[in-house]
């Protein structure tokens, strides 16, 4: 029992061999790396791109709904005032 406890204790102290092997192969990244450049301009570009893309892009469902309305209005022109009333 004592021997078993001693062995477990030694194993805990040394750590899992796989963990040690992994730590040695990968090695930790040094804390707080030096920043090579200011990323804020890139962030602003990203925000601008997304904003313009957001304004330009219309969901497919809106296109489908618009197409369906147009087709319906072409087939039944008398319904145009009704459609316009509900828009």
């Amino acid at each position: 029992m004592t021997n078993k406890n001693q062995k477990t204790g030694i194993k805990d102290q040394e750590g899992d061999p796989m963990e040690r092997l992994l730590r040695d192969a990968m090695r930790p990244v040094v804390d707080q790396p030096e920043l090579n450049r200011d990323l804020w301009p890139a962030m602003l570009r990203r925000m601008d791109e997304q904003a313009s893309r957001g304004a330009a892009s219309v969901p497919w469902f809106d296109w489908a709904l618009g197409g369906a309305l147009l087709a319906f209005a072409t087939m039944a022109p008398r319904t145009i005032p009704v459609i316009l009333y509900y828009l």
Binding site: L21, A25, V29, W40
Partner: protein, 181 residues
């Protein structure tokens, strides 16, 4: 001073871009350093940092100033890095030459050959991304399990389980290649 900080967080929550810039400049370094620990590639760390801050900007209304910016930012950054890892091919995402570009302290075991290291890194890259992140942060970076759990948004027990599974899969993969730790 504290009022200023609270004001910035509150203004950010309401979508103020100047407040976002202040927070960006305050936390960019910490977020980038954290992301680098996961993606291990400086140029990718920059892209993922921008992606993470973009997600923060998008989610500003869900930010709770009471819980602090840093833990929230770290969690979003961890998930952005995890998504980046998932998009990488196993053999290209963590190539040994990329790992060498990351500044690392000296003192690795000379008994382990470069060939064995390469095989370990490649086997590690084949692990599922969520297991890799847990093992990277808890084992390689030796971050406390609580910190890793908070960053991943899971329990400490789940972190231990992921690390256990990662090491077991790694041991099995390396065993098939004749490498036994």
């Amino acid at each position: 001073m504290q009022d200023d900080a609270d004001g910035v967080l509150s203004r950010f929550r309401h979508g103020d871009v100047d407040a976002f810039e202040t927070l960006f400049r305050m936390h960019q370094r910490a977020v980038q350093g954290w992301v680098l620990r996961i993606v291990r590639e400086p140029s990718a760390a920059e892209d993922v940092t921008i992606e993470a801050f973009w997600r923060m900007h998008q989610a500003h209304a869900r930010f709770d100033p009471e819980r602090g910016f840093e833990p929230w930012a770290r969690r979003i950054a961890t998930h952005a890095a995890l998504d980046w890892l998932r998009r990488q091919k196993p053999e290209s995402g963590m190539a040994p030459e990329l790992w060498d570009t990351v500044p690392t302290p000296a003192g690795s075991d000379p008994a382990i050959s470069a060939e064995v290291r390469r095989k370990i890194v490649q086997a590690f890259a084949r692990l599922p991304a969520k297991l890799r992140v847990a093992a990277l942060l808890a084992v390689v970076e030796e971050r406390p399990h609580k910190e890793v759990a908070d960053a991943l948004g899971i329990s400490t027990g789940a972190v231990k389980l992921r690390v256990f599974r990662a090491l077991r899969l790694l041991r099995k993969d390396l065993g098939q290649q004749g490498i036994t730790p």
